[in-house]
C-alpha cells in the first residue's frame, strides 16, 4: 500500500459517498468526477518505481541502460486515454442533466419519480 494509492482510495470512497447522499444531480456528477480522479491516481501509483525517471529516452538517459532507469509506461498510457474519455462522458452526463432540468424545472433527484416503486 503506497501513499498515493491511499489518497486515490480515499477519493473513491468520498466520491461514492457524495454520489449516494446528495440530491442535486450536478452534485452527483461532481461526485462521479471525484471518483474518476481517484481511480486515475490509483492506476498511476501502480506503475511508479521509487527513484526512477519518466519513460522518455533523451540525451541524459541512454537507450541501453533504460530498463534500469525508467518507470512503467503502460499505466501512463492507460490513464492518458481514460482522462480524455472522462471529459466526454462528463459532458454527456451534464447535457442529460440540462435536458432533465428543461423537462421539470428542477434538479432534485427526488422529483423524478416516474419509475419509483
Amino acid at each position: 500500500m503506497t501513499l498515493v494509492s491511499i489518497i486515490g482510495f480515499v477519493l473513491i470512497i468520498v466520491g461514492l459517498w457524495g454520489m449516494l447522499t446528495q440530491n442535486n444531480i450536478i452534485k452527483i456528477i461532481i461526485g462521479f468526477s471525484i471518483i474518476d480522479t481517484g481511480i486515475h491516481l490509483l492506476i498511476v501509483s501502480i506503475g511508479y518505481i521509487k527513484g526512477k525517471t519518466a519513460p522518455i529516452i533523451d540525451s541524459v538517459l541512454l537507450k541501453t541502460d533504460a530498463v534500469n532507469q525508467v518507470v512503467d509506461p503502460i499505466p501512463s498510457a492507460l490513464v492518458l486515454t481514460a482522462i480524455v474519455i472522462g471529459l466526454a462522458v462528463t459532458a454527456l452526463m451534464l447535457v442529460y442533466a440540462v435536458n432533465l432540468y428543461q423537462r421539470k424545472q428542477s434538479l432534485d433527484i427526488n422529483d423524478f419519480e416516474e419509475l419509483k416503486w
Binding site: L3, V4, I6, I7, V10, L11, V14, G15, W17, G18, T21, Q22, N24, I26, K27, I29, I30, G31, S33, I34, T37, H40, L41, V44, S45, G47, Y48, K52, T53, A54, I56, V71, P75, S76, V79, L80, I83, V84, G86, L87, T90, A91, L94, V95, A97, V98, Y101, Q105, L107
Partner: protein
C-alpha cells in the same frame, strides 16, 4: 521530501473533495472539483508521468470546469432558488 509534498497535497485534495460535496453554493463545489484535478496533476508529475500531468492539467482543471460552468449557466435560478 517527495513523501512530505504528497502528504500535504493529499490532505488538501481530500479536504476539497469534502468541500465539493458539502458546499451550499453549486459554483463553489465546481471550483473545488477543479482544484482536486489541478493538485492531482502535480502528483502525477512527482510520480514521473509528465504526459498524464499535462493531460490532467489541461482537461481536468480547464475544460471540465468550463463544461460544468456552461451546464450551470443553463440551469441556474430562474425565479426560484436553485443554488442549494
Amino acid at each position: 521530501m517527495i513523501n512530505g509534498i504528497i502528504i500535504v497535497l493529499g490532505i488538501i485534495m481530500i479536504a476539497s473533495a469534502f468541500m465539493a460535496i458539502y458546499m451550499r453554493s453549486l459554483l463553489s463545489s465546481i471550483i473545488a472539483a477543479g482544484v482536486i484535478s489541478l493538485l492531482a496533476s502535480i502528483i502525477y508529475l512527482l510520480l514521473a508521468a509528465p504526459d498524464v500531468a499535462m493531460t490532467e492539467a489541461a482537461i481536468g482543471s480547464g475544460l471540465t470546469t468550463v463544461v460544468f460552468l456552461y451546464a450551470f449557466n443553463k440551469v441556474k435560478g430562474r425565479g426560484e432558488d436553485n443554488h442549494g
